[in-house]
Amino acid sequence: MSQPFRTEKGGRIDRGQQLTFTFDGEEMQGHKGDTLASALLANGVHLVGRSFKYHRPRGIVTAGSEEPNALVGVYRKGDQTPNLRATQVEVYQGLEAISQNRFPSLGFDVGAVNDLLSPLFPAGFYYKTFMWPKAFWDRVYEPVIRAAAGLGKPPKNPDHDTYGNIYAHCDVLVAGSGPAGLAAAVAAAETGAKVILCDEQAEFGGSLLSDENATIDGKPPAEWVRDTIVKLQGMDNVTLLSRTTAFGYFAHNYIALAERVTEHVSDPDPKLPRERLWQVRAKEVVIASGAIERPMVFPENDRPGILLADAGRTYLNRYGVKVGNKVLIATACDTAWQAAFDLADHGVDVVAIADLRETPPENLVAIAQARGIRVEAGCVVTGTLGRKRVKAALLGRLMTSGQVASAGQVACDAILMSGGWTPTVSLYSQSRGKVVWDETVGAYVPGKSVQHERSAGAAKGLYGLQATLEDGYAAGEAAAKAAIGKEAKVTYAAASGGEAGQGAVLGALPHDRNASRVKAFVDYQNDVTAKDIKLAAREGMQSIEHIKRYTTTGMATDQGRLSNMNALSIASGALEKPIVDVGLTTFRLPYTPTTFGLFAGVARGDHFDPVRKTPSHDWVVANGGVYEDVGQWKRTWYFPKSGEDMHAAVARECATVRESVGLFDASTLGKIEVVGPDAAEFLERMYTNPWKKLAPGRCRYGLMLNDAGFIVDDGVIGRLADDRFHVTTTTGGAPSVFATMEDYLQTEWPDLDVWITSTTEQYAVAAVQGPKAREVIAPFIEGIDLSADPFPHMSVKEGTFCGVPCRLFRISFTGELGFEINVPRRHGKMTWETLAGEIEKHNGTAYGTETMHVLRAEKGYIIVGQDTDGTVTPQDAGMSWAIGKKKHDFVGKRGLERPDLVAENRKQFVGLLTKDPKVKLEEGAQITVAQNPATGTPAEGHVTSSYYSPAMGRTIALAIVKNGHALHGKSLYVPMPDGSIEVEVTSPIFFDKEGARLNV
């Protein structure tokens, strides 16, 4: 029969919808509403994975996101996603799941040899060995260790799914929809507050969905959940998010939620994202994350078939699945008894209830006896048998001496265990609250709130249905009041049944076995045993952080949610310190593992970072230009004609500019409008140069330093009027120059009457450079006399270009006659295309950044950031002329006077010519005095720029060299891997030293 462990009726699965799925290739059936775990269990499959270190066979332990063992890979669209929890994977038609960390198969795994060798592999063994021979670490040992480690296989192909992102605000965010969460949501929503309720599971209701015994307002809990959700759905102020995990709690009540949108559907709508990130700014948060049950640490507590008691109950009541036919209950807590009763009521043979406690509650004993269940009080499990599925348990009786006496063996095919409950304080901890130890609860519970949050119900160690509901309502009311100052009259639902369970145990249980030989697991996935923790303590690891890192307990994919408390308790015993003195490891985000794609969202390809395009963009694309990325800008690098490589294109572009004319898109340069009565004074302070005497209509090259004295930016500044300057900056420096100006203006010199505005985006700039530049632009310019006398080099005037207002600069970064036409951005395309058409007539060319670089290098003009690197002063750069000598102060002036900035031997800006004119130096190459310097010889400097110069008919280079200004004419060397290159130090100005070509 298919699904032999499925109950005949009951559960919340849709028995009318049978779904087929595969696990390791084997076809099985489940129902809609099943998780992979419940469907596997229905088919009698417990063995689902192998542990990390010893490769021990492992089964499903929990029914929730804390599952440590049942991690599977799921195939979808030809690729697999590793490490998904079978307890969270929802079954859909055609689901393909595979087990992990085994070879060649789950049933027969050669890695299991580690289990036999485990005496050699105690905690931290790898720190003590694999050191000899030395070379073997990365060549032999590490590759072997790496291959054995890891769990699932990583995806092989690029992920083509999409991920969404939503920013949301709410008054009250409720995380968790168990009794406390639902009550809190209702109470908050009734006040009119904007509420978001999220739950990691597919269905709202949490523990209420697996409780068949209690009632709320006279209804079965699941029915009350349904009615409550219907009510909330009807309220406009409520957003309900299922399959949504609150995984991160950040500063200032910023909460991140991960919503799984399509993963549970076999054939999702392609328009929907796979997952969606919600970034929620909540005024108040109610943490209703509940509690999870603790495993008991007894020898061989890891065999498939051994589950948490509440998980067994959940599989039964919620999914209609029996975890076995002969079930042993091992517990220290009342709540497991209810699992026993529920199982017995479904006809499962409950072979015994072994309760650690000497005298379990009489009423429970009476109910058990009424059902004919054997009760063993003061009894622990001391071991189990069965490799791939538990088949028997060894029982032991606790003696008053503290010893354990064997109490025989009991056959079973499943064990349900409960060591009590641990409140889930992860989100609270993430909010930076400090948990406090509560002796009565026997757990850490949330302490003082440091952000606007409150925990409710089991999340703060409060158990029992009625109490939890009441606490939830109260939390919801308080949160809404704090958020919006309103109260509402809420009728609290009344529950009967679902009483709080008493009793708990922490740490390793006593047994009568050889303690040094048996394995009692604390952290299942990472194979950490009680022995390992004791060893760590013995070796001097005193902090729980050391114990965690040394043994890896709590470092598995459940991040210690199952293991932490037991580990702490064992450490506490081994260190002979109270639990509170052992410390606690920090809970960090994410609450459960969260997909990278979710964080990345839409940021891929062009959405990774904004693309900034200039007005010439379309024309450049149409004309085959090649782009380079400069910050966010796409700038044209060069314009190859058919058959040209970069070198040929650049050589042609350079020659054309010098011979006739070239067109360059300079729109990316930063532009700042500086306006006001004190505008000149302000620039006087910001730049090294003097500005007060610059006449309106004229331009000057400006050099900007930081207050340390180093060059940070440069650009031409035009004075349009007494009180108005048009400042240009480098492309990359635009934002920082503007920010720096604002900083000084607002915080140092608020007395200056100046306004500054970034106009980078307001103007498109076309540079026309070359002997024929004037002829090219003349037909389109009106209102400006372009002839040299009224409009000399370094001038600016306002006029029109094709009838459009323009600021026309006569400036040059090429050494040729040049104009830069600034037009409003919306006219940039027209301007560019008009000029591009015109230069054709003059045999001109469009040129890109590479040609611009070559042409300026021929003239010895620096590029800030290439020829300078933040360590260069104006003197170093040979630009003392740019410093206003009479100025009392400017940004950087005091910095320049510091000892090292006036020292001898500073590196200075020079030109370099290789002995062989054909040899082009590599940019970044180092410069030495010696032809064949010994390794470790300090460099004299380095090559900052290097090109083939068509104008010079040879290669040229720029460099900064120690004492370079004094070395003109001297030989130095550039040592390269295949030999040293001899160079002559020269002036950095190679072409038209007198500047005759500028002044035409």
């Binding site: 950040f250 340390a708 604002e742 005091r894």
Partner: protein
């Protein structure tokens, strides 16, 4: 992601609208030429780097563009007070007490 109140726009906005401007109340010496190398280094580089109640500058770069000052607990990242650049520095001890530090 901090939530910051801009005292000029009079709105709370997420941190990504703002740029942190470092420690507040570090004035550039009125006459740099009169400072020693030591004093200049102090102005340029030495910072209080407070662990606790710190005063820092923020600029609302994607809003009004104005600089303003923020008193923040650098351990909890809680903002205790926001004030305009020309307002005097508030009583930090009183603020700390109020915040329960």
């Amino acid at each position: 992601m901090l939530l910051i109140y801009c005292p000029y726009c009079e709105v709370e906005r997420p941190e990504t609208e703002f740029h942190n401007g470092g420690e507040a109340h570090i004035a550039r010496p009125a006459d740099p030429s009169k400072t020693s190398d030591e004093e200049w280094a102090e102005f340029l580089y030495m910072r209080s780097n407070v662990k606790g109640i710190a005063v820092e500058r923020w600029r609302h770069i994607h809003g009004c563009g104005r600089f303003f000052n923020v008193v923040r607990d650098t351990v909890s990242d809680k903002i205790l007070k926001v004030y305009k650049v020309d307002d005097p520095m508030p009583d930090l001890e009183a603020l700390a007490k109020e915040a329960g530090r």
